[in-house]
Amino acid sequence: MNVGLEHYLVVSALLFALGLLGVIVRRNLIVIYMSLELMLNSANLALVSFSRFNDNLNGQVMVFFIITVAAAEVAVGLALIVALYRKRQSAHVEDLTSMKY
């Protein structure tokens, strides 16, 4: 069976949907964070496959940038979560509703 662009895109879409589901239903902040990374990487996958099948390196360059930025983002995000945990002794979204009316 010949693997084409559509297969990659379907996998990418599935990964994205899984990540979104995780963001919406999981309660633990760290898991939500991991799900966010999953969504980010599904986008990476889509970009790489477009690059491969269109013979254009722009997509891969873009992915490198995204990975770099994601690394920085993880550092900031985890630091925020640790700080939050120290303050509230909890990393569950149900406990973080002080912005409620």
């Binding site: 979104l20 919406i24 979204v93 409620k100 009316y101």
Partner: protein
């Protein structure tokens, strides 16, 4: 030309004095008095110079003050015989009253404030006199209202004075409202000009304009004069205004402010149609009679003079209505002399009696205060119209006009003249002659020189005022072309040649009034009139119940409207309108804040949903 600056000096010096006193010298009484008196005396001297320069050549000095498209407002000073003569009265009589005040107000804690107010008042009054257009006149008109409010309520810690000030101000405002409407009508009728000269020219070129619209405008303008000159039915404020210090009564309520109404009528005489003039003459005549009747049964020395002022103002207004503005201005001038004299004399008496104002507690003051008595006597004789004192000539001029135009008003005028003599001699006999009626008299003594010298000067003016050519000057300004006597002798006998009936009736009225007063009050210890005609007397001494009638009608209606307005404001405007808007906003807010759950995942879900909807819109169609 150096004279051009003089009118501005005359006008603004008192304002400068008022400003300096208020800002810097309130603590220093001497400097305040010197500043205020100096300002008005300088104005007087400048007026004399102007009088020499511009008597025969009227001039206007104008600067453009407001320039808003079609609205052009000039700030102009108009110098012609009319305004010059009025300036002389205001600054001349004003100067004497200022000087007198130094003695009268001595020791008052508000001494400096008093002089600041006097100067402010002088400034406003000069502004009215010099104005060359309606708008400027209206502005100074209101300023006069304010400064008279300050002066009447000078002893504001006394409730009656504060109330009187309020009453005067509100009554004046009522008249001024009509004045303003009248100005607006003129503004529309005369194509955006309010300049006296231009309007006069316009009327002369389009006589057809003298129709119904102008009658209404004229009567509305007359409303303003009705307020300031205290004509019926807006006369109620003047007697109450006697709560102010006596120099104020003399300055404002005898010589200047109340004369402003008459002056304004003469200044804009050309806009009055015959119908309007008829109304004006009857209002004036009625006021004259009403006030004279009330004066007969008043016991407060200042109130008698106040009602007498009302009555004489009625005369002047009647004169304007009888198309004799020159006679009115003549009477205004002589009245300014002798009524200021009478008020200052009354002030001297009150000063000597330690603020006792009831004439039935005086008596025999003739020997204690000779200068005051004799000058007061001169004022009384002039007011009663005795030949050859000034009052005779001016009153005769009005009576002659009445005889010429309207016999009922002539009869009314003569009977008012008799009443005038009667109540004035009642005052003189009771207060100055007979026996002392209280112990206060024993301690009374003549007032200081600073107070009696103004009396002497005013007495001389009251005697001579009729024959020094004042009438000819006004006649030249207001009715050019008429023949007028020149020379002292010719003027002395002129009334008897010109209108013998009027002159002799006036003298007969004096004789009747004097005889009745002598019969009733010479050596009287109590008021025989009150005993004999108790019903009528009660009516008179209660001022025909006008205050009570106004209390029951105007004020009641006003209070009712105020209550209704209050209810509407409280329940309809605030309750219904504001309440609905406020409640609606509040309710929506409460509903909308339910969306703010604070749950991160709800927000995330809604965010994705939003993105999905947008994508569907962009791509799906």
């Amino acid at each position: 030309m150096k004279y051009e600056v003089l009118p501005w000096v005359i006008l603004f010096l008192p304002l400068v004095a008022a400003g300096i006193i208020t800002l810097f010298t309130l603590k220093n009484e001497k400097v305040s008095a010197v500043l205020s008196v100096g300002a008005i005396v300088t104005s007087f001297v400048a007026t004399l110079l102007c009088f020499r320069a511009f008597r025969f050549s009227p001039q206007e000095f104008t600067i453009n003050w407001l320039d808003l498209g079609t609205l052009q407002v000039d700030f102009g000073l108009r110098l012609d015989p009319l305004s010059l003569m009025m300036l002389l009265i205001v600054t001349g009589v004003g100067s004497l009253i200022h000087i007198y005040s130094i003695g009268y107000m001595k020791g008052d804690p508000g001494f400096s404030r008093f002089f600041a107010c006097l100067s402010l008042f002088t400034f406003s009054m000069l502004g009215i006199v010099l104005a060359n257009n309606f708008l400027q006149m209206f502005i100074f008109w209101e300023l006069v209202g304010v400064s008279s409010y300050l002066l009447i309520g000078f002893w504001f810690e006394k409730a009656s004075a504060a109330d009187a000030a309020k009453k005067a101000f509100l009554t004046n405002r009522l008249g001024d409202f009509g004045f303003m409407l009248g100005i607006l009508i003129l503004w529309v009728t005369f194509h955006n000009t309010l300049n006296f000269d231009l309007i006069q020219q316009y009327i002369r070129e389009n006589p057809a304009l003298l129709g119904g619209g102008l009658t209404i405008a004229g009567l509305l303008i007359f409303c303003g004069a009705m307020g300031k000159s205290a004509q019926f039915p807006l006369h109620v404020w003047l007697p109450d205004a006697m709560e102010g210090p006596t120099p104020v009564s003399a300055l404002i309520h005898a010589a200047t402010m109340v004369a402003a109404g008459v002056y304004m009528l003469c200044r804009v005489f050309f806009i009055f149609t015959p119908d309007a003039l008829t109304v004006i003459s009857w209002v004036g005549g009625f006021t004259a009679l009403l006030a004279a009747l009330i004066a007969v049964q008043q016991n407060d020395i200042k109130r008698i003079l106040a009602y007498s002022t009302l009555s004489q103002l009625g005369y002047m207004v009647m004169g304007v209505g009888l198309t004799a503005p020159e006679a009115s201005m003549f009477h205004l001038t002589t009245h300014a002399f002798f009524k200021a004299l009478l008020f200052l004399g009354a002030g001297s008496v009150i000063h000597a009696m330690h603020h006792e104002q009831d004439i039935w507690k005086m008596g025999a003051l003739r020997k204690k205060m000779p200068v005051t008595f004799w000058t007061f006597m001169v004022g009384t004789l002039a007011l009663a119209g005795v030949w050859p004192l000034s009052g005779f000539f001016s009153k005769d001029a009005i009576l002659a006009a009445a005889q010429h135009h309207s016999i009922p008003l002539f009869i009314l005028g003569v009977s008012v003249a008799a009443l005038t003599t009667f109540y004035m001699f009642r005052l003189v006999f009771v207060a100055f002659c007979g026996v002392a009626k209280s112990h206060g008299v024993d301690h009374a003594h003549e007032s200081p020189g600073v107070m009696v010298w103004p009396l002497r000067i005013l007495a001389i003016m009251s005697i001579a005022g009729g024959v020094i050519g004042i009438e000819a000057l006004f006649a030249g300004a207001l009715k050019p072309g008429g023949e007028h006597p020149h020379g002292l002798l010719a003027q002395l006998v002129y009334p008897f040649q010109h209108a013998p009936v009027a002159a002799l009736s006036g003298l007969a009225a004096f004789a009747v009034g004097l005889f009745l007063a002598w019969k009733l009050y010479w050596n009287a210890k109590e008021d025989l009139f009150t005993l004999k005609f108790s019903g009528l007397s009660k009516l008179m001494s209660n001022r025909f119940y006008f205050d009570e009638i106004y209390e029951a009608t105007v004020i009641r209606i006003h209070d009712t409207i105020a209550t209704i307005s209050d209810w509407i404001d409280r329940w309809i405007v605030e309750g219904l309108c504001l309440g609905l808007v406020r409640g609606g906003t509040d309710l929506t807010g409460r509903a909308l804040r339910l969306a703010q759950t604070g749950n991160l995942q709800t927000y995330a879900f809604l965010f994705v949903l939003g993105v999905a909807v947008v994508l569907w819109f962009v791509l799906g169609k």
